[in-house]
Symmetry: C2
Subunit: 157 residues, 2 copies
């Protein structure tokens, strides 16, 4: 009886370990996914900038809203799961530029991330007003939040 229980317990532990392993992305995959998220955001930031900040492209409220929706959804997606220990070294689409200071200053990182999410949500909301000046101001607030992470934790290219 004890033997059967031990076998069952071992099987359960094995199943849990295997589930954890399947849920765990490799370092390079974490880096590739986060590079993809930021790159796709940058396309959408660029579209909003061209339409409401620089005015290079005629303002299309539907496109700006769609772009702001993407940025907010990515900001709220829980990307911290892609910053596992050791992911300051590795190669996704290209070698990561994450500085190792990131892992020594998680409180500060959390504050910056919180600000980024707040500003992204703000941009999504203000996009609905179709008030170009207000959208441009909020775009700049968000860009500053992005920049404060880049300045602190992203190595220059």
């Amino acid at each position: 009886m004890k033997h059967i229980i031990a076998v069952i317990v071992l099987a359960l532990v094995a199943a849990l370990l295997s589930a954890a392993a399947m849920a765990q992305l490799s370092t390079d995959d974490q880096i590739k996914f986060r590079q993809s998220g930021y790159t796709f955001m940058s396309w959408n930031m660029g579209r909003i900038k061209a339409q409401v900040v620089d005015g290079d492209v005629p303002y299309d409220p539907g496109q700006v809203q769609a772009a702001a929706d993407v940025i907010a959804a990515i900001a709220n997606s829980g990307m911290s799961a892609l910053y596992g220990p050791g992911t300051d070294e590795g190669t996704g689409w290209k070698p990561t530029r994450l500085k190792s200071e990131f892992f020594d200053e998680l409180d500060k990182v959390g504050e910056i991330a919180g600000r980024f999410i707040e500003e992204a949500n703000g941009l999504q909301e203000v996009a609905a007003t179709e008030d170009k000046d207000a959208i441009a101001r909020q775009f700049n607030n968000l860009a500053r939040a992005c920049g404060s992470c880049h300045d602190n934790y992203r190595a220059s290219e």
Copy 2:
């Protein structure tokens, strides 16, 4: 007077051409941005699959909703702008796998894209019900919509 008008017209034309040039992404950038969008979607599809289809990871309704929000936002972002003529050849993060048939069958592409957007919106809605079985069914509907584009227009690796 005629001379002044001609100069103004020329300046306007130059400004418009320059705006168009700035709005126009290079072939490789279009490919890189769309590869990024699909790769980031695949992270989110994987999270939903692990939690509601395979059950490898405990179901977290907030995470599944966030993942479904990302997928819907990317699906609705107007990615057709990233499929300019000639983008069946070129290199973003890696060489594109887009088949040239894509550009010969734009009606069929439009139908598949419409279906994809519809199923992505459906997944976003059903995620809010927290009904795991319904989410799993809708996940499969969306996966089929993705697959029908892959089967037709993506070269195998």
